[in-house]
């Protein structure tokens, strides 16, 4: 028997019955197995097995949609951590912030990470939209995916707006007061809408609880739903488009 090295160990794991029951294909050194890597995996199978080589170029998408997506993952992960310490009540919410910052191990790090990832997500979604626009990637057959994108941008803004209230500090309170007073100006529906959103006439404990539920449950769920449609449609619309073709003759116009 050969001595124990990393490669014999890997081989042993790969050949074990348990591993084979989870991942059925062999080492990805043939194109057949490389295809299987993609379509035997729930998480990778949103990809096609092959992609056009030029779509890999950085300037094709500037990776902006992908960066926004990574920011979203980071937000989910750090957000769930923060929820373990946060109470959506007045003034406990604010004390929890202080506790996270000064008492909880790594609390300040995860809070910072959540905050900066939120900024990255908003910025990323905006830049991604501009990239799609200037590449004219909104044209048929991608019209609908553009509209899904606009909805994603709005959900992103709502998420960061609802999250803005949660620390219950002065910035939070007044930012949300001014913002919801703006909603009041909308004809007819403005006032009732604000009342429902805040659960009252002023930004109070009710409002904090409502924003918390929206921020931690409702909006993330809706976001995941629309991201799924968005990603699925990219695939159905023929993959990412990137910059318009130099020679229009090479593009097949619908």
């Amino acid at each position: 028997m050969s001595s124990l090295t990393l490669s014999t160990l890997t081989a042993w794991v790969r050949n074990s019955a348990v591993y084979r029951s989870i991942i059925r294909h062999g080492v990805a050194d043939t194109n057949r197995n490389r295809s299987l890597v993609i379509f035997e995996n729930l998480f990778l199978h949103v990809h096609p097995v092959k992609v056009r080589e030029k779509t890999l170029k950085f300037t094709h998408t500037f990776w902006l949609g992908g960066i926004t997506m990574v920011a979203t993952f980071v937000l989910f992960a750090t957000g769930i951590l923060l929820m373990f310490y946060y109470h959506p009540s007045v003034p406990q919410a604010y004390r929890d912030m202080k506790e996270l910052m000064f008492v909880v191990d790594n609390g300040v790090f995860y809070r910072n990470m959540h905050r900066w990832a939120a900024h990255l997500m908003v910025l990323g979604a905006m830049l991604h939209m501009l990239r799609v626009f200037y590449h004219r990637a909104y044209r048929p057959p991608r019209q609908f995916n553009w509209v899904v994108g606009v909805v994603l941008l709005l959900i992103t803004l709502l998420l960061s707006y609802t999250g803005y209230l949660l620390p219950w500090d002065q910035l939070a309170f007044w930012g949300v007061s001014v913002g919801t007073n703006m909603a009041k100006e909308a004809p007819l529906i403005g006032k009732p809408l604000r009342f429902l959103l805040l659960g009252g006439n002023i930004v109070s404990e009710n409002a904090l609880l409502r924003f918390y539920v929206l921020h931690c449950v409702v909006l993330p769920a809706v976001l995941m739903l629309f991201i799924s449609v968005h990603i699925w449609r990219i695939r159905k619309d023929g993959g990412v488009q990137g910059p318009p073709e130099k020679d229009p003759g090479e593009e097949v116009e619908p």
């Binding site: 995860y110 900066w116 909104y138 007044w174």
Partner: protein, 237 residues
């Protein structure tokens, strides 16, 4: 995909035991991957997946470094009785807050954002965005009057509200549009300008206005929403 299409004769059969043959239906409106020229394709694994993983790691590392270096702000406990001065929304709403300084709340808070959302949604459905060529490739006379008229209306409208943050970029964009008129001649910058389409001009104008309003709101507004230098934003208590 580039082969000449074979003639295809469907065989109809009502025999339930016949295994149906699958054919790809390519309708004219859903064939984005079909190109006249054959392109180079690569395996998604590893070529795309490895790039995605690297991008993922770079973003996470970048965020971690930022999170280690800069603390997220936390001010005093919320006090409904005292408004901080200045009182600012998050940065992506400061353009809007800046507009609120000039226009009544219905306009700045409801009408303008509503119009922006509607405009974004209709982009892929408006013909102009699908067919537009270089700006000056059409009827030049009509375009000249068009640009002049629209710019004139915008400038007069926003001047009455003394909203120079919109007037100035509008004038700059209009000037650049006329600069693009001399297609072919001039330096490479001018030749680049000449290729820009009308929808791109409009979007660029919008981005410029939004960016300027946001920058003013973020860095140049102090107590009482007065114009200040960034270093005087919070007066010594």
């Amino acid at each position: 995909m580039s082969q000449t299409p074979q003639t295809f004769a469907p065989v109809e059969s009502s025999d339930p035991m016949v295994v149906p043959k699958r054919v790809a239906m390519v309708r004219p409106d859903t064939r984005p991957t079909i190109r006249r020229r054959e392109e180079k394709w690569v395996m998604t694994f590893p070529h795309l997946i490895i790039r995605e993983v690297i991008m993922f790691m770079l973003v996470v590392i970048g965020l971690a470094v930022v999170a280690l270096l800069f603390n997220a702000p936390l001010e005093g406990l919320a006090n409904p009785l005292e408004t901080p001065n200045p009182s600012k929304a998050p940065w992506y709403f400061l353009g809007l807050q800046e507009l609120l300084h000039y226009f009544p709340p219905v306009v700045a808070g409801v009408v303008i954002p509503g119009l922006v959302v509607v405009a974004l949604v209709v982009i892929p459905y408006a013909r102009i965005n699908l067919v537009a060529g270089p700006l000056w490739s059409g009827d030049r006379k009509r375009l000249t009057t068009g640009i002049t008229a629209v710019t004139g209306v915008l400038v007069i409208l926003f001047s009455t509200f003394q909203c120079w943050a919109i007037v100035v970029p509008s004038l700059i964009v209009a000037a650049a549009m006329f600069l693009a008129r001399s297609e072919g001649s001039g330096g490479s910058f001018r030749r680049f300008l000449a290729l820009v389409t009308l929808p791109e001009w409009v979007m660029t104008w919008f981005v410029l206005v939004a960016a300027i309003l946001t920058i003013i709101g973020t860095f140049f507004r102090g107590p009482g929403w007065s114009l200040v230098w960034p270093w005087n934003m919070y007066p010594p208590a």
